[in-house]
Symmetry: C2
Subunit: 306 residues, 2 copies
Amino acid sequence: MGKLLVVGSVALDTVQTPFGQAEEVLGGSATYFSTAASYFTSVDLIAVVGEDFPDKHVAFLKSRGIDLTGLERRPGKTFRWKGEYTYQMNEAHTLDTKLNVFETFHPKIPEPYRAPSLLFLGNIDPELQLDVLSQVKRPALVACDTMNFWIERKREALWKVLEQVDVLIVNDAEARALAGHSSLVQVGKTILARGPRHLIVKRGEYGVLMFNHKQTFGAPAFPLEQAQDPTGAGDTFAGGFVGYLAATGNVSEAAFRQAVIFGSVMASFTVEAFSLDRLRVLDYKEIEARFREFKRLTHFEDLTGA
Amino acid sequence: MGKLLVVGSVALDTVQTPFGQAEEVLGGSATYFSTAASYFTSVDLIAVVGEDFPDKHVAFLKSRGIDLTGLERRPGKTFRWKGEYTYQMNEAHTLDTKLNVFETFHPKIPEPYRAPSLLFLGNIDPELQLDVLSQVKRPALVACDTMNFWIERKREALWKVLEQVDVLIVNDAEARALAGHSSLVQVGKTILARGPRHLIVKRGEYGVLMFNHKQTFGAPAFPLEQAQDPTGAGDTFAGGFVGYLAATGNVSEAAFRQAVIFGSVMASFTVEAFSLDRLRVLDYKEIEARFREFKRLTHFEDLTGA
């Protein structure tokens, strides 16, 4: 389908979970997204880092074939996030956020990147998401993420974004907060009525639901022997999902469903290690093998007869 | 496969949810289980009620074809449970429990019921579960439930029960407490190593995972327009699951997976209304239709090629 453009954050994370810790490791929504998507398609990354951003991380992203023309390096420090997880690994507890250069991030899309086939708007201020949309020629598919912070503070701008978006990818708490319903079926109807043709609700270790006007698709998360660190799982899911759609160039219901499974596969690898450590050593055969395990995990025989 | 024997509680519930309330309505684990199973097979119910148990409830259970020879009526009052749910409908908050005649319940299996093909041991003291097992000729399939109260207080007796059980059906918190792991994959290995050949982990609105020594099966819950009252959903799941196995007489992996879906279908109906009100008016065509909707909900195309 052509090139995938992603706008979001690149960060240095410090994370503690019951199974270990990591300090000042590579993180950020656009990082996880791009790396996951890079297994399926070519990716142009728009983000900002500070002067302190280690060259080795730049080298890693380049090694994944990600185009870093749009990665600005600005005076100041890189975005830092510090968080921890208890045994209830489904929810991060933020200990500290230092936006640093990300605070004044104002994405400028370089001229050669203004006609992407697919666009992913990572979790940034909806007004910046609108600005990005105004800079690009309408892509075949636009997906976006957001968070409760923007749902509470920039609701109107966010709805304007959603009018121009094909797929909204959020977690269940965000979806409920945005729609003001507890039933996800009602959440789906409310959100789809205002713009996106598809709503994907991420439920962490419980899996994913995808709603469109005609169908609902549900999949469990892949059951893991040991989840080490859930950081970035949602962004990785989005990267696998959009990346697969870019690779196939197919936006049928069947392709969307497979894309959800590829997103879930990629997310399941991410949580097996801290930072992007599992994705660093992943190969495509492992991705395909886990996709097939997903099929075995979820398959059951239909009823026979009419 | 023949007759299904169930031992558990029959209760009068008072329930409040964000969507309404119900006072002194029919409840109890064996009630939900038997009613759900009655759509698939014939059921013999072993339970106890007090003198105040309304005749209309007896009439309802009879109307479902449930054999009530083993339903003791004792001097005293029927078991009462009072609970409420917030918008997080996945967890009940118990406000009051009055065991009443259930406190001294000591199941005696009437002679004609001592050779069931399938046995479901509802959530009662594991020592009573052992006693029931000692009263019956070994059935082709034994399933059981338990709760944190017994996991904490009667762990050794519970493990003895599990050595004689084919399928343990519990929620995720119970499974984790029993095994002492947070990873459900590790939970599965730990529990299967000590007895049951199958572990079913119920996750409420998030669905179900089923583990055995060879395979894992996962299914989401059916997404509902409006869940009214989750009370009894877990017992209904178990009733649909075991009831379907009884009906087919098939204990293959394929049948177990379909049984999980039938259990999920039945549970999804139960939560659509208070008490057993949805099950009262349910017919088998609706059950089959929702099974097929489940297939559409979860189906995706496998990868082509090797």
